[in-house]
Amino acid sequence: MTDTASAKTEVRQLDSVIVRFAGDSGDGMQLTGDRFSNASALFGNDLATLPEFPAEIRAPQGTLAGVSAFQLQVASHDITTPGDAPNVLVAMNPAALKKEVHRLEPGGTIIVNEDSFEERNLSKAGYAESPLDDHSLDAYQLFRVPMTTITKEVCKDLGVKPRDAERSKNFFALGLVSWLYHRPSDTTLDWIQTKFSRLPNVAAANTAAYKAGHAFGETAELFHVSYEVRPAQLPPGTYTNIDGNTALSWGLVAAGQLAKVPVFLGSYPITPASDILHELSKHKNFGVRTFQAEDEIAAVGSALGAAYGGNLAVTTTSGPGVALKGETIGLAVSLELPLLVIDIQRGGPSTGLPTKTEASDLMMAMYGRHGEAPLPIVAAYSAAQCFEAAIEAARIALKYRTPVILLSDGYLANGTEPWVLPDVDSLPDISVPFATDTNGVDDDGEPVFYPYLRDPVTLARPWAIPGTSGLMHRVGGIEKEDVTGNISYDPGNHQLMTDLRQAKIAGIADDIPATMTAGDIDDADLLVLGWGSTWGSITAGMKRARAEGHKVAHAHLTHLNPFPADLGDVLLRYPKVIVPEMNMGQLSKLVRAEYLVDAASVTKVMGQPYTAGEIYTAIVDALTGEEGGNR
């Protein structure tokens, strides 16, 4: 086995390549994509991935509904998206071909598992005739590979049952594509050995299939060119390829360490947030407690209880769960206790598109509670940056004793990118002291503890946890008297407390970084304002527009409430502002209301991230006057 192509084939250098694996839910496409990504990451490419799978555990085999896909871009330079139109589509069955082929770049490469193009599958996919034979694919480079047959063949002597052997065909595909793009094989082969160490038969079959695929590329005389994508010139450091949910989970573990308090997670499973619960439940040795509650209300309730007890309390969920947690989050606002509410957004409304991405919970995060219940909102903008976002959200929650909503989404959650590991010692200290002493005197001059006596700068109240002698006090959701925290129905006090709660959150603007900007900051004709996971697409789309000479700047918000103190100035610096969002215009409404800036909304609600091309088009449209508009 060698990593260089055979002599017969020409080797072309590419800056980047976009590959899309597609097959039936049972075909293991996610795994295949994942392995390809990891091999590329370890090889030193920059990359970005986009897994897409159906909501069902296993949708009917062979149907369009059952197609599972994985797209990734690998590059020899800094990239920020999984790419727009794939250069190569690997289609394991007719349904996958039918559903995905429209995405392919003009003249792109299609590699199909020829064996699967038999009548039953064709008809399930809705093909009257085989597309392999009817010239409908003539605009592409089509490679027909009998993957099942060869895989079964090479597994014959391994003592693997034919049905099980067939299951390894995804490794055949992986081997073939790995050959085509000069991916190192060791990483994958090692992984197979480790992963299936308890199932030697499976390991053997997968290994054989991989090698057969690789060899097929090298020997079959089908492919006349193979491609090389050189390692990227990334900044020095130690890298790992990480998805957003893992980065976020590790960020929470880190936040607990940095805050020097135990982490408590109260959660109820829901796609695409469950993996944070799964990941955190593995790290009990960090003192992390995870609790799978009976529902989302109990999940956030338990977290609030843990916060009262002095933990770094977290609850993770997606939109439907946040909708259920609203009342308890309102209580947390009133109690002024630190609490992290993490929303991995997905397509809505209602059950919506559970496995697809969307960023339409921003308004709910702002306003999804009764009464005046302001709280800070932080949004992650890339898979790896979820780590940092979690620590930042925790910092704010702890320092200001407030619930914080941290927004991520399905795209960040499941997508991966290389992450340069931070130096643990350089991470910030986010610890805050518990109250240990009385902080006032009563009318008789006796020392007393006032649970709502605020820090004059942060306006945070003391965090006095049970077990602290002398500081016994009661808190509750009825309006509290300023300072004492006793129940008060006094009109003036209610106004004061409402003002104070608002001022506390508003004041955080002075404690967060200035707006993150990029592009033609000083002389752009247009500002693209974004938040959350659109960062990658905007970066890539803007690059394209600037390469054509357009003057464009990009401002990206990591803090949605309060906004960075300079945001108003930033917005006013540019003649035009567009706000591309994966919703119907939520951030644009917020900035319009706040700054009276005619920020035009660009919207996409299709369960998929923006492509760089869509952003590019939006930029050009805005610059040429066809501003705003949807999609």
Partner: protein, 339 residues
Amino acid sequence: MTDVVVPETSKTDWTSDQEPRWCPGCGDYSILTAIQLMMPEMGLRREDTVFISGIGCAARFPYYMNTYGMHSIHGRSPAIATGLALARPDLNIFVVGGDGDMLSIGGNHLIHVLRRNVNLTILLFNNQIYGLTKGQYSPTSEIGKVTKSTPLGSLDEPFNPVSLALGAEASFVARTHDMDRQHMQEMIRQAHDHDGSALVEVFQNCNVFNDGAFGAITKKAHRAEMLIDLQAGQPVRFGPDLNKGVVLDPSGCATIVDVTPENEASVIVHDPSHPDPSLSFALSRLSSGPYEPTPVGVFRSVRRPDYAGEVSRQLANAQDTKGPGDLGKLLNSRPTWTV
């Protein structure tokens, strides 16, 4: 928190500076007094004690205890207390709420806390009415109850909180009433001593919206006839001269009989610690409303690992096995490459 001797306290030490805001004559007052008197006896520290409640008249309770406390939102106290108990297994946590709070909106949290056996002492003040919202029927109100929301009478079969708790795998269930301070205190003591979730149903009179709901059984004059005092290891007998007893009929139901020398041996001997809750359940079915002889006392008390303790144990084990968490190691735990 520290291991010095718990200082002696008195009722006033446990009394906060907030004046109770219940209606004059409300049964909640006597429960408050019973508990405030009881705390010093149980040898608890105020700073290690927390009262968590939801919303309702009963749920005002924490304000009046000079301990830590949280008056949370309607129905959620068991969930909030669960988080606190898991985070802080060192605390004594009491959960207080009404029949609406704990059995209507909060019913699910209650049954889940009971099955999990979280270390909480749960006091359910059952007045068979919504007090704070001024008199609607509750999940324990009798069928036909005329209230503001049911002018023609309610139609819903009520819960029997003891049966429900037993069906939900509760490890400790007791019942008492607001007219008998000593009995209340005894139940609360046993509940507090129990490892895991302990539910105490307290019959509580709401003299404004449901006055005398329990009068037929709790009035001094009726008690001997109408209260069946369950005592561990004792035959289940009651009546002025203990002339009544409870036996199991062939269909497995608990039935009241006049005790005779012939049937005396068949009177049930109460065993709250039996691993199978069937007999406790049968006893809970003796009365379906407070007009028949009604058992009070501890129905069930079995040892089962406390949930918070188990969670802590898993953490300790993980640390023993994997060593304490090392952030640098964690970040490097996936394949890495260096540029």
